[in-house]
Amino acid sequence: MLEARNITVKYGSRVAVSGATLALAPHEITAVIGPNGAGKSTLLRTLNGGLSITAGEILLNDSPIEKWSRRLLARQIAVVAQEADIRFPVSVLEYVLGGRYAWGASSSWGWETEQDLEFAIKALHETDLESLSDRLLNELSGGERQRAVLARALATNAEHLLLDEPTANLDLSHQASILSVVRGRCDSQHVSALVVTHDINLAAEFADRILLMKDGSPLSYGSPREVLTPELLARAFAIEVLIDSHPVSGAPRATPVHEIRRS
């Protein structure tokens, strides 16, 4: 279980996150939504110790994360971020095997074991990248690359997945496929996920819980039905939003009402 209790993060004197509390329970996806600059990505970065908190506490299996070594923490928590631009020829399989770094034992002299290879191949299978495993990463399309980033996180076999806008810049079918893979992991294993996203409807569809943030503070935290209300969304985004139900899944669906002036 990964928990944040009443945490505050500051960049210099500027408060980026204040008073945020959440818990990632097994088999659950938590979505974090909110306007730009609400502190969503900052919150995600603090959860694996990438940024330090100035107040509150973050607990992994009831023990503060500062007490965990980098390697042991990386075995428990995997991050899917926007991939950086890659200037070296790295194959998809090599890239995904990078996810096994934290499991490296001194007995293997820094080389991957058969078991590492098995986890990597399983992750490639889950993300439907098996046929591309020998290709170079910078030869892939944007959607395939993002799947490779996800595959590397899955290869860690971590119990907690933190995804920072994993579907940004992807087309409709790729957005859904990324989140389906995450959903699959959460359903089939003892895994929880946190997804930072701008796509409210995708969050409503895939998430069990939603944390709505504004100006670094949590506005609401609960099920999609509880959080996605016209009042709360209007407070967060300063725009009128209509809520109805998705005709197939029944999940709440948000439609912004734009004031477009026509001359």
Binding site: G50, R75, A78, I86, V90, G110, R152
Partner: protein
């Protein structure tokens, strides 16, 4: 011979992923090739030696009477071989350091000479020569300090608030290089005229003026340094894709960065202290190695070290024979090969 070469190359490339087996195969092959290069180049020089007798002497480490005169034996064992060994250790140091800087700075164009790190070491060496001339060990120590200081400054300059781009890093390197060049010019003008010429020659990379102590230091540092860097190769594989990624995956980024910077600077420092700034080795060699076997540093770093040794041994053989009995600085030869490759890499993006 070429058929064997091609067969081994083919074999080493056929396996996709870099494994321990593949690394050992490639490195074993390269070591054999390096041994051959050393043997052949020690037969070449402005003074021609009888090949068969020299080979006999070399392979028996001078223990067997092979019919060489005393003068010929001295040329072989006291002039050529130490110089070739120095060339090999300088090449290995610079190529291993170059490969590591490239991974750490996420930039295939990073190179000790182009980043001004060699110049930092050169300033350190100069200060040692002028103020601590009596202490031979002061040269590598101050060269190392200079290299480390230059590395630090370039790294800080390149990482602005907007992050580090390849162009920004090269620009930072240019600034540090030109600044240190003017320091070097300033100090040089304070020297007496007879030393200026030999000094300018040394600055361009010169393997002729070594002592046995410097040779020992540079060989030990090259071997130990390359081994330490290779031991961090798996961490460097992840750092190569971004510091944040590496952190997320469990790399202790600041510790690894510090150790790799220290060791790479030590390698540059010791090679500059013994032979001046030999440029572009750290660019050309790792690039060719990656082109042949991919970017996994567990293979790139050791293979680059061995190929770097070969490259500088060959370049120095050209430098000391092409206008014999006069010599060219070896740095002129490596730059002649390296600069066009740099332009090609820059244009390719």
């Amino acid at each position: 011979m070429t058929a064997v070469f091609e067969r081994v190359l083919e074999l080493s490339q056929s396996e996709g992923r870099v494994t321990l087996r593949k690394t050992l195969l490639v490195c074993g092959f390269l070591v054999a090739l390096l041994g051959l290069t050393v043997l052949i180049t020690s037969l070449v020089g402005s003074e021609s030696l009888p090949s068969r007798n020299s080979l006999c002497a070399l392979l028996s480490f001078g223990q067997v009477e092979c019919g060489l005169s005393e003068d010929q034996s001295a040329i072989l064992f006291e002039l050529r071989l130490p110089r070739i060994l120095l060339a090999a250790s300088v090449g290995a140091s610079l190529a291993a350091a170059g490969a590591s800087y490239q991974a750490l700075l996420r930039n295939p164009l990073a190179e000790p000479y182009l980043l001004g790190i060699s110049n930092g070491a050169a300033v350190g060496t100069m200060l040692a020569l002028i103020f601590l001339g009596a202490f031979e060990w002061a040269r590598p120590v101050l060269a190392f300090s200079g290299a480390l200081a230059a590395t630090f400054v370039v790294y800080r300059l390149a990482h602005g608030r907007t992050g580090a781009s390849p162009e920004r890093l090269i620009l930072a390197g240019v600034i540090v290089t030109t600044f240190l060049s003017s320091v070097i010019v300033f100090v040089t003008t304070l020297m007496d005229a007879t030393r200026i010429r030999s000094f300018t020659f040394w600055l361009l990379g010169d393997l002729s003026g070594t002592t046995s102590n410097l040779l020992t230091i540079s060989t030990v540092v090259a071997l130990a340094g390359a081994i330490v860097l290779a031991a961090y190769a798996r961490s460097l594989n992840l750092l190569m894709l971004g510091e944040r990624d590496a952190f997320d995956l469990g790399v202790e980024v600041s510790r690894v960065r510090l150790i790799v910077f220290l060791v790479a600077s030590l390698l540059v420092g010791s090679s500059v202290a013994s032979s001046g700034s030999v440029g572009y080795v750290g660019l050309v060699v790792p690039h060719l190695v990656r082109l042949t076997w991919g970017a996994d540093n567990r293979l790139t770093i050791p293979a680059a070290a061995i190929c770097g040794a070969m490259f500088v041994v060959l370049a120095d053989t050209v430098a000391r024979t092409v206008i014999a009995p006069r010599e060219l600085p070896v740095g002129a030869i490596t730059a002649l090969i390296g600069a066009p490759l740099f332009i090609y890499l820059l244009k390719r993006g």
